[in-house]
């Protein structure tokens, strides 16, 4: 994974290569016999690998999105900015009837989060397969488990099968971006 030749931007390509090298090393450590008794450590290592895979997938999709849109600002889907608001009627201290203008939100393409990148890849048909879209969403949700403060359940023990799922998503996205779209 140090041949991201299809990425012409040097900084991104270098960062992807570094992430890929780290991914390779972590994955090898996760299956080395040296740590096989330390289940919690291996599970945490797998979680770190998932975070790196998600970061690579997110970067690849953002790159592809930029190639398709060729713009620095992008209109978001059904996200509005409200302006010139006037209160028409106050129902209570926590409820009012208002009128105003609303404009569809535009965001700097470099600042899109993973969820919005996926939604826009769907909108602009960069990912056409529903199954792949669902799998990328599932990868994003796995990645989001790094926010342990919001978890409703005790963290599960991550397995090689979780990694394999993430690597399959990465493989599909690499193929998609390398050939320039779905």
């Amino acid at each position: 994974m140090n041949k991201f030749d299809f990425i012409s931007e040097v900084t991104l390509r270098t960062n992807l290569v570094q992430a890929a090298r780290y991914l390779n090393a972590l994955s090898s450590v996760s299956i080395s016999p040296q740590y096989k008794e330390d289940i919690l450590f291996i599970s945490s290592l797998r979680k770190t690998i998932i975070i790196h895979v998600a970061a690579i997938v997110e970067a690849l999709l953002l790159w592809e999105l930029k190639q398709v849109l060729r713009t620095t600002k992008v209109k978001l889907l059904n996200e509005w900015k409200y302006k010139d608001m006037n209160v028409l009627y106050t129902i209570s201290t926590s409820e009012q009837i208002v009128a105003g203008r609303r404009l569809i939100e535009k965001k700097d393409i470099e600042k899109l989060d993973f969820l919005r990148v996926i939604q826009l890849c769907d909108k602009y048909k960069i990912i056409q397969s529903k199954k792949l879209l669902e799998d990328v969403q599932a990868l994003r949700e796995l990645r989001n488990k790094l926010h342990i403060g919001g978890l409703k359940e005790i963290e599960k023990e991550y397995q090689n099968s979780d990694l394999e799922f993430c690597f399959l998503v990465l493989e599909h996205i690499l193929q998609l971006v390398a050939k320039g779209g779905d």
Partner: protein
Amino acid sequence: MKNKKSKLLIEKSLSQETLGDLEKKYGVKFEAPANTKVWRYLEGNGLPTLARIIRNFG
């Protein structure tokens, strides 16, 4: 000379990287010969998709 060697290691493509390279860099021990390619080790230990990615993109 030492710097030159480590630079060469860093520049090795992933598909050519061996367990010996990882042992040198990270001090991790593997139960396989040092000249085993990392992707082969991954393939034989439950991570065939990553092995395939490294073979195709590394």
